[in-house]
Subunit: 295 residues, 4 copies
């Protein structure tokens, strides 16, 4: 999918074969440049328009038992991929920083056990080869959305990228960040809305469903939503997840933990297995009402 | 429904009959005080949990022909009440300020013609008797959400109140504003989320579906959403409307105009009749998926 | 100063005598329309460019002793006007709502005792005659900045207006609100920056010194700043006050209380007399450095 | 200055020698842990409380002539260090990305020519050795404030760090980011306030002087301000710079260009030499009024 815009101010890495005339800060990812929606393959399954793709799993990989238990449970309830953090970006240096490569190995083991492809975060360009060795898709966290060196290196990562929107970034900046990845060689980018910072701190972040509605028209890339971080509290995850789908998103990424209250990070917002089952049931009904499938 | 909280710091207008011990700034409107949801009657129909209530009509009443045409169209497509502004709060004194009482009379005529109850804005306490003479429900605009003199007078208005959330106000302030109305004698308050101001101006306002999810748990009052003002552009009204319902709202208030591009206010965001018909169809499917009715 | 813009879309209350051609939502208050700065007289003294005007006093009038004590103290330390709220806009109906007319009488008594003109808030159009009977200037609170009915009535109030910026309002909306007052007959408007709502709640509000710098170029009206509400904590009032002046403001409005910890409202942010003395000393040095006077 | 907090949840890189008991997310950088202000040496001069330190120069290094001309001009007018970007974080991949190492060499040449120490941005951990070879202090941009891998590596950089606040980050997050650098071995951190994202886009960002006032009390590290990025327009840079100093900052970092309108980045906000001279003159008068020196 990646070719170069003819009016790029920097030399593109690949040759142009399409004429575009856009004013904005992104071109390759624009619907004006490519009308039909792009499907991004994760493992052997696609995130694509018309089908709801669900990624679920714990915030952090904490132990072999925890990740295997979570993987089996979400698989059984219909998730299409497993999430779990091995490298964790934490506000304080005194918080749990993740298990690192040990966590990646446990994720790979969970994939073997369940068949679910694995999505996990990479925090730095130097870690891409390590993370790409174990993961099926590389997640870029909100705090790194404008880490441009990292974005450029993802162009050569050889794995699809889940690009979370920065909580202080506009929709245009998010699309321009995706453009960095695409322009440097990797068009397999999935956009993830996860809430922004606003004056209202009733919930942890303000989920911006308008950004989903807008992005679905502005770009051909898949757009999914994360209801867990804006909720910040598991009581609100299900309504936010349904709102994400109703606004037009192509999927969800949601935190689920075998015993949320004992989690080493994001304890308040992770769903129990029972709650995830309830979410999946409601999401299936909603998908049908929207003329989509969730299978 | 209105009785007084025992630990109110000011003398309540009515006698307390329930013991409460809340820390917050509101009590009468809290779910902790009253568990079962409150239904608010508008005309001869209720806004109530489990049923989707749709209010539709133009931003402003502009002419007899315009409001009658809009009323008939939205009635036919299934709306339950007619909206239309006669007193218009406008940022600039040089913008169209509404038809005033003439507009109220036209709304009443549209009610006679269609049977739809009428919802319209009141901007000042002194106008309550005039507006209440024609309207079935009084809308309080976002910019007046903390006009406390007005809120107190609404306690004696004798008509239900639609309280829009201020675009710079927290959810707690919104509920405390409802408490003013309830404490002064009028428990028939419907909360309306209509988008907040955030750093992202991609759309006109940021629709806060998290506020809907939270309010539905925090208060027993009905909560509805306005997709038109956050969208600011009719291309985004339908996905935002569906997200409002999926987040748990009890209804919608949406702008519809016979010829939006010629509207005297909010031209870009008003739906055509055709688009409103599409919205209603999708909303019905969604309501069923959510286990609710839209009839 | 008030005349009508020739391209106003509504009929202006007074006759036009100047040609203007502005694109914006305000005209009368624009520097493009009137180059020289406007001086607004409060009592027998002016708020005017080049001179720092200081308004000080308690958040609320609480008792005869309290307001007289505060008035004498701030007068002695160099304040030019006395502030104090008699009608209080409070988020919760259970908070202290002010002494009403009793408070106005006490303010008038404090004026008699000290010679300081009195600035106090009016919350509703119907109260303008009552408040104007006692006060030298009418303050419009942040929550009423877009109460357009009130703004229109202020055009006929016969007293200068201090217009606080709404915490959710843009600078252009603030100037358009001033335009309402001016267009309806009262050009004596002083703009007051008092902090806006942002994602950062470290202090109570985010003081927007950029708004002061911008407004000083965009309008000929005086612009002053309130350091107390953004600080929310008296430890930060002095640095914010100095930043307000350095950004170009024409004065300050600051909360001072004889015994802040016992205050019925805003206890944390009111200065002690000693702190106010320290502020005045630093403000005088700063005024000189800026080539202005504070006398 | 760097030692470890005894209650750190992760193993600190250095040994603890002080007892602290703080609840927050940072400890080493807290005033509760170290009362006296820290002075950070850049070249042969200190950023320290009581003395105003001024860093000036173009947004980007564009050519030998440009950077030498700017360095000489700002040196002559009293700047203490030279700024200039060689690695540029740009929203769009199609914007000028900086001259890279060529730019670093030109900065070193400008240092030789003027004696001014050089401050320049490093965008990625892998570039630290390269940038540290040429620069006297390493700037971390707003978009990288929570690039935790980079922050950890700065602990071993051997050069002082200027840590810009992210435009979507709270003050506590900013201090916790400084804690990462300090905990990993480098206590020479200077905090830089540069404006945050808010709903008001009148200026480019909202300068948060309250953050400066708060940070000066919360941390012993130096705090400086950047008036150029929040202004976004050179007409507002001087009032914002003065507000930064009045709020208590220890210095400024300001963009100055020989011919701003022709700049390859941030053209609108860079000062001309004449304007920078005017700023320095006003800043000197202000410093004296605040009881500080600017020499």
């Amino acid at each position: 999918i990646v070719t170069a815009p003819p009016n790029a101010k920097v030399k593109p890495p690949v040759k142009a074969d399409v004429e575009v005339d856009l004013k904005g800060e992104y071109q390759l990812v624009s619907r004006a440049w490519k009308k039909e929606p792009t499907a991004v393959k994760i493992g052997d399954r696609e995130i694509a328009e018309g089908k709801i793709f669900v990624i679920a799993g714990p915030c952090s990989v904490e132990s072999r038992e925890q990740i295997l238990s979570a993987a089996k449970a979400v698989k059984e309830m219909g998730a299409h991929a497993l999430r779990g953090g091995a490298f964790k970006p934490r506000t304080s240096p005194y918080s749990f920083q993740g298990l690192g490569e040990e966590g990646l190995k446990l994720l790979a083991e969970a994939r073997s056990a369940t068949g679910l492809p694995v999505v996990t975060e990479v925090m730095d360009g130097q870690d891409i080869p390590l993370v790409a060795k174990y993961a099926d898709a590389l997640q870029i966290g909100a705090r790194n959305m404008q880490n441009f060196t990292l974005l450029k290196k993802l162009g050569k990562a050889g794995k699809p990228v889940l690009l979370k929107r920065g909580f202080g970034n506009t929709v245009d900046e998010w699309l321009a960040a995706a453009e960095y990845v695409a322009l440097h060689g990797n068009g397999d980018v999935v956009l993830v809305e996860r809430g922004i910072r606003t004056f209202d701190r009733t919930l942890r972040f303000t989920l911006d469903v308008g950004a989903i509605a807008y992005a679905k028209q502005a770009t051909h890339l898949p757009v999914i939503g994360d209801p867990s971080h804006p909720a910040g509290d598991r009581r609100f995850v299900i309504p936010l997840a349904l709102a994400i789908l109703a606004a037009g998103a192509d999927g969800l990424i949601v935190e689920v933990h075998p015993d949320p209250d004992k989690a080493l990070s994001d304890a308040a917002q992770q769903l129990t297995f029972g709650q995830f089952g309830e979410l999946m049931e409601k999401a299936r009904a909603l998908a049908r009402a929207l003329g989509k499938t969730l299978e």
